[in-house]
């Protein structure tokens, strides 16, 4: 059980990444693919967080007395995740905007049918 406890975040992250990848690879609807990308991003963010997470750790604030550095959660991944979330949102927004445009121009969101550019 302790295995699961230790690695539950990683398993979750891995699962999310796999789900995201599966959606991207198997769905042909653009919106679903974007959702897949989003899930993939979430999985990765979770992974980043869990890299720095210590079970029952505390916030890394030194001004509070009585806390030792070993119990603190690593703050760097959290900063990373913040940035990554921002970037993810930007990409997501852009993707959705493009999806709207695409739908207007092609009349469909089926990626298999949007294949004029090839070879």
């Amino acid at each position: 059980m302790s295995f699961l406890q230790d690695y539950v975040y990683y398993i979750g992250a891995f699962g999310l990444v796999l789900i995201g990848l599966f959606i991207i690879l198997s769905r042909r609807n653009l919106i679903k693919v974007i959702i897949g990308l989003s899930i993939l991003d979430t999985g990765i963010n979770l992974f980043l967080i869990s890299v720095g997470y210590i079970s029952k750790g505390t916030a890394p604030i030194f001004s509070k007395p009585g806390l030792v550095a070993e119990d603190m959660v690593d703050p760097v991944p959290q900063a990373l995740v913040l940035t990554s979330i921002v970037i993810g949102v930007a990409v997501l927004a852009l993707a959705l905007a493009l999806a709207m445009r695409l739908h207007k121009l092609h009349g469909t969101l089926d990626l298999r049918k949007i294949g004029e550019l090839k070879w």
């Binding site: 991207i24 042909r28 693919v33 298999r112 294949g115 550019l117 090839k118």
Partner: protein, 618 residues
């Protein structure tokens, strides 16, 4: 006279010609002629000198050198002279055509690049000028558009393959010897292993062979020569492809050294034998191809391939006689083939672009001088005694017999008979027979066309009667290669292995001519009659139909055509098709469906990790 100045004049002249063409076409024409004349003078003044200057100290760590030797002087002289004559010839030929400034500037650039190739003192300069020569030639071949485009493409691709092989070769040389100067390379080659030398020779041989259009690499030449503008065809056939000959001479005698060269190859089949067999194939097959042609320039183009075979055959034996024969044949071929291409150019110019051998005829009545020079050129090509071609071919035959190669001699001599067939077809179908009605009012060639042709035809005869003049220059080249000097006299050769004396032949022929002419004179009255006043078994002569030129050698064609497949050419074309097909096939992986693309990414990653986990190669 410094070599840098010469190259600056040559390259700068080409550039300035274009600029001046923007100002005034007359100014440009004058300037182009002036530059090419200046180049002739400058090259001529280099005679007998041995200069060696490093003009670019550090090009990526290699120094670039110009030098002049006897060999390079001969080639430079031929190149600049032909260049000059061709520019003069172009003056009327190109009148009224579009993009003339571009044409002249490229013509001069090709000229400059050729001078650069032969005056280079290291392999890198040689390569640089070689490439400049290649692409400027490509532009000129493509100049006419239409079928010329395919011809240009074929030329470029084959020539590019050749030059890349050369690049690989020269960089290998650099890798092993650390220098590209001829002297240093030659010194390094002395101690190199035979396998290494063979590899280098093959790499360079592909480049030189492609340029020289020897047999398996000949495919580009016929279309390129026939589609290029005629004055440029003259350069192309006369001197440009001979850069390959220069290359072979350079690598055999200067870089590798004759003794090393003769020792190359397997025991039973030495490399020089392979080379001479290739030369023989290059004589035989294109000769028959030339007989089949109906396009005047294509005929001459195939003939060029065949003559290149003679040159290679001469060089490959590596005796003083054979090398003299090969080099002399290069000079001669440059002269008479340029002359013949100019003849076609003149005909083309006057008949508004007709060079189909089936639809011309009788032009001797309208262009007697053009016919006369064509006749002289053809005689040189066949090698009729008292023209230059005879002497060089005699030297080659003599070698083949002395070296006991009767089969090669057979090919060479038989090739000469083939030459007669196509040469006569060339003369007959253009100049002899009935003059078609539509050419009744044809004018004779303009002055600027007659001048270069006359000069060249004089050279054909001069070198045929006094072969000692060029042979003494060639003899000094022979000597510089370390070969035994020939005993050259003004009239030919006075050697212990069989003499050649043109003065005897000259005297005999003149006496014969005189006697026969007197006999003819003594006969009855001669009246000139019109071409329509002919024997037609009593029937009226049908206009424009009393001519036999279509299918001139039809029976022979029927016989040999089934066996005469240019399978190398079709192989190259099929290869090009395959590459195109491969490209069209490979690009199908870009299916247009983004899911596939994502799959590629994921699969690639998975494969990387899988391979590492299973075999851990990294």
């Amino acid at each position: 006279m410094s070599l840098e100045l010469l190259m600056v004049v040559a390259l700068g002249g080409s550039l300035l010609t274009y600029v001046l063409g923007r100002v005034s076409s007359r100014l440009r024409n004058g300037f182009a002629v002036l530059v090419s004349l200046a180049l002739v003078a400058m090259v001529a003044s280099l005679y007998g000198k041995a200069l060696h200057v490093s003009y670019y100290e550090d090009f990526l760590g290699m120094s670039l050198v110009l030098r002049v030797s006897g060999l390079s002087w001969l080639f430079a002289m031929t190149a600049s002279t032909l260049g000059c004559l061709s520019v003069v010839f172009s003056l009327s030929y190109m009148k009224g055509k579009e993009r003339t400034s571009f044409y002249y500037s490229m013509l001069l650039l090709v000229n400059a690049a050729m001078l650069g190739v032969v005056l280079s003192g290291d392999l890198l300069s040689l390569f640089i000028f070689w490439e400049i020569m290649s692409w400027s030639t490509f532009l000129l071949i493509s100049y006419n558009g239409g079928p010329a485009l395919a011809a240009g493409m074929k030329y470029f691709v084959m020539s590019f393959v050749g030059s890349l092989a050369m690049l690989a070769g020269l960089l290998t040389v650099y890798g092993s010897f650390g220098t590209l100067e001829f002297g240093g390379v030659a010194a390094g080659m002395l101690s190199a292993s035979p396998g290494y030398i063979l590899a280098i020779f093959v790499l360079f041989g592909v480049a030189f062979g492609t340029k020289n259009a020897i047999w398996p690499f000949h495919a580009w030449l016929p279309p390129a020569h026939s589609e290029a503008p005629s004055p440029f065809s003259a350069i192309l056939s006369g001197i440009l492809i001979k850069m390959g000959v220069y290359g072979f001479l350079l690598i055999i005698f200067v870089l590798v050294g004759l003794r090393n060269f003769m020792a190359l190859g397997a025991d039973g089949l030495p490399l020089h034998t392979v080379l001479s067999i290739v030369g023989a194939i290059t004589i035989l097959f294109p000769t028959f191809m030339a007989i089949m042609q109906n396009d005047a320039k294509k005929l001459l183009a195939w003939s060029t391939v065949a003559q290149a075979g003679y040159i290679i055959l001469g060089i490959s034996f590596g005796t003083s006689l054979s090398v003299a024969g090969g080099v002399f044949h290069f000079v001669n071929h440059a002269v008479f083939k340029a002359l013949l291409f100019m003849v076609v150019g003149t005909v083309e110019y006057r008949t508004k672009g007709v060079r189909d051998l089936d639809s011309l005829g009788g032009l001797i009545k309208k262009m007697p001088l053009t016919f006369a020079v064509a006749l002289i050129g053809v005689c040189g090509l066949i090698g009729v005694p008292l023209t230059n071609g005879f002497v060089s071919k005699w030297l080659i035959y003599k070698t083949l017999i002395l070296e006991r190669s009767p089969f090669l001699a057979l090919v060479a001599l038989f090739g000469t008979w083939g030459t007669i067939l196509y040469s006569y077809k060339f003369l007959h179908n253009i100049f002899l027979g009935q003059l078609p009605e539509k050419y009744k009012d044809l004018e004779r060639a303009p002055m600027t066309m007659r001048l270069p042709m006359t000069v060249l035809s004089i050279v054909v005869v001069l070198f045929g009667v006094l072969p000692g003049i060029p042979l003494s220059v060639i003899n000094s080249i022979d000597t510089s290669f370390g070969l035994k000097p020939l005993n050259v006299t003004l009239w030919g050769l006075a050697s212990d292995t069989g003499a050649l004396n043109t003065i005897n032949i000259l005297a005999a022929v003149f006496a014969g001519l005189l006697i026969v002419w007197l006999v003819l004179k003594s006969g009855g009255r001669k009246v000139s009659v019109d071409q329509a006043d002919n024997y037609a078994a009593g029937a009226a002569i049908p206009k424009d139909k009393y001519q036999y030129s279509v299918g001139f050698y039809a029976p022979l064609t029927r016989m040999v055509a089934p066996y005469l497949k240019d399978f190398m050419d079709s192989f190259y074309m099929r290869l090009a098709g395959w590459v195109g097909g491969l490209g069209s096939g490979i690009r199908r992986i870009y299916t247009g469906y983004v899911g596939d693309y994502a799959m590629y990414i994921v699969l690639f990653l998975a494969a990387l990790i899988f391979v590492q986990l299973t075999w851990s190669p990294w």
